[in-house]
């Protein structure tokens, strides 16, 4: 007696899976591309700055956060903050906060690498025409550095998007959470997890393809 595939229960709740996927994407985009990016840029500039204090703070942040598992960080945020410090946050906020801090540490390294790869003469050329340090950063360093960082950024974005699945453990209603729920309610194990897998793969593939288009669009002609 073989296992009879039956996708009907999965399709019945497919809108749940879709809404879970959408929540995961929204959380990733906000945490990684908005907050994480800002943290990463700021910390990367801090790490390459002349101030020892700034360098130490930024490097302590990266060392600590990058060396802790995101699952652990999420549990700390979700359980310790409210209990010990009385900070009331819901589970989505807790996860978005966790992912932002976590992504920031990875993106710091991405941007630090991109900054170090720039020729020293670029900054000097900006200064030499009379731009201030800040203007040089804004009009010269950032545009060149961001382009160089784009391949590594898309790689990290995909990886961090997949990390949204750990939020299922604190009942954030994202894709993995709903997949498990459908699995528990219907016992359609193979069906639900294969559909869910395909959804992750398809979305990550599309993200990568989309970012490659952006890369090509922004590429410096040579």
């Amino acid at each position: 007696m073989g296992y009879q595939l039956n996708f009907a229960p999965v399709w019945r709740d497919f809108d749940l899976l879709l809404s879970g996927l959408a929540l995961g994407l929204v959380m990733a985009i906000f945490s990684v591309l908005v907050v994480g990016n800002l943290i990463g840029l700021a910390a990367a500039f801090a790490m390459t700055s002349r101030s020892t204090a700034l360098r130490r703070i930024a490097s302590a942040y990266v060392t600590i956060i990058r060396n802790l598992p995101i699952f652990f960080l999420m549990l700390v945020t979700f359980f310790v903050l409210p209990q010990q410090f009385g900070i009331r946050i819901d589970k989505v906020q807790a996860f978005v906060g966790t992912l932002s801090i976590y992504a920031g540490a990875y993106l710091t390294e991405v941007y630090r690498g991109a900054l170090l790869a720039l020729p020293k003469g670029l900054r000097e050329a900006g200064l030499a025409i009379g731009l201030t340090e800040g203007q040089t950063r804004l009009w010269v360093i950032l545009p060149v550095m961001l382009r160089n960082a784009l391949p590594a950024l898309s790689n990290n974005f995909i990886s961090l998007f997949k990390d949204t699945s750990v939020a299922a453990a604190i009942a954030v209603p994202e894709l993995t959470f709903y997949a498990r729920q459908i699995n528990n309610n219907t016992f359609r194990v193979i069906e639900v997890w294969s559909v869910c897998s395909l959804m992750y793969v398809a979305v990550c593939y599309l993200i990568a393809a989309g970012l490659r288009v952006v890369e090509r669009r922004l590429a410096i002609p040579r």
Binding site: P119, G121, A125, A128, T132
Partner: protein
């Protein structure tokens, strides 16, 4: 005698413990073209970078049009505010050995950036000025090319246009042909010559002796952080007074 446009007085500069400038004095009048020659490590480039405020210096002063740059006048000598330094930097135009064009901007964009962001000119006016200078250095037809699409000589000509478009009081050239293939050197030197003929004040660090001889009003020989000898090109090249200059010229290529 007209008022000097650039005065360097007792300039001292150390990198850590090593003193690379040990009291340099130099004066330039408007329209002067001065070439600085000397072996590597003699301090020529460092002096130029001090004038552009890309290097700190511990002692001495640099004045442009009578204005003390980089630091407030002694005895309360302290480094000026960053915005002030940026303004003073734009009084000199620097051309680098490695061109250092902004790779993400077209030739035109490279020249207009300073005009729009530093001089805050409207875009149309900045473009008109940039196009005029690109034309002047023979790069008008390639104004929409990016640095990566240009040869070294072409990049360096754009870099000259970028610096001079800011209307600096003194142009500084730091071994601007050293990174170029031999066949591209002349197109850059010709541009510099024609700017000299127009009366642009220029301070050049160069290894091109023939060019220094032809273009300069004065040649300065630096050795171990000091100006060892200076004078008209004929005097410096044909009748060196110091043994060090004589030795240097013996080994230099013309």
């Amino acid at each position: 005698m007209s008022k000097p446009v650039l005065e360097i007085l007792g300039l001292h500069k150390k990198f850590k413990e090593i003193e690379v400038l040990k009291g340099v004095d130099l004066e330039m009048e408007p329209g002067d073209v001065v070439s600085v020659i000397g072996s590597s490590g003699s301090g020529k480039t460092t002096m130029l970078r001090c004038v552009n405020l890309l290097e700190d210096f511990e002692q001495g002063s640099i004045r442009i049009d009578g204005e003390e740059i980089g630091y407030t006048a002694a005895p309360q000598r302290r480094r000026r505010k960053e915005s002030e330094i940026a303004r003073q930097r734009s009084m000199t135009g620097m051309v680098f050995q490695q061109f250092n064009l902004f790779p993400h901007l077209s030739a035109l964009g490279n020249v207009t950036l300073g005009l729009t962001k530093v001089k805050q000119l409207p875009k149309a006016e900045a473009t008109a000025i940039a196009e005029r200078w690109l034309e002047r250095v023979g790069m008008a037809e390639r104004r929409n090319h990016y640095p990566g699409q240009l040869s070294g000589g072409q990049q360096q000509r754009v870099a000259i246009a970028r610096a001079i478009a800011m209307n600096p009081k003194v142009m500084l050239f730091d071994e601007v042909t050293s990174a170029l293939d031999p066949e591209l050197v002349n197109e850059v030197l010709n541009v510099i010559k024609s700017l000299a003929a127009d009366g642009m004040t220029m301070l050049l660090v160069t290894h091109e002796m023939k060019f220094a001889y032809e273009v300069s009003r004065r040649v300065v020989f630096m050795n171990q952080g000091r100006i060892e000898e200076q004078g008209a090109p004929e005097a410096v090249f044909h009748n060196p007074q110091s043994k060090r200059l004589a030795d240097f010229l013996k080994n230099a290529k013309f």
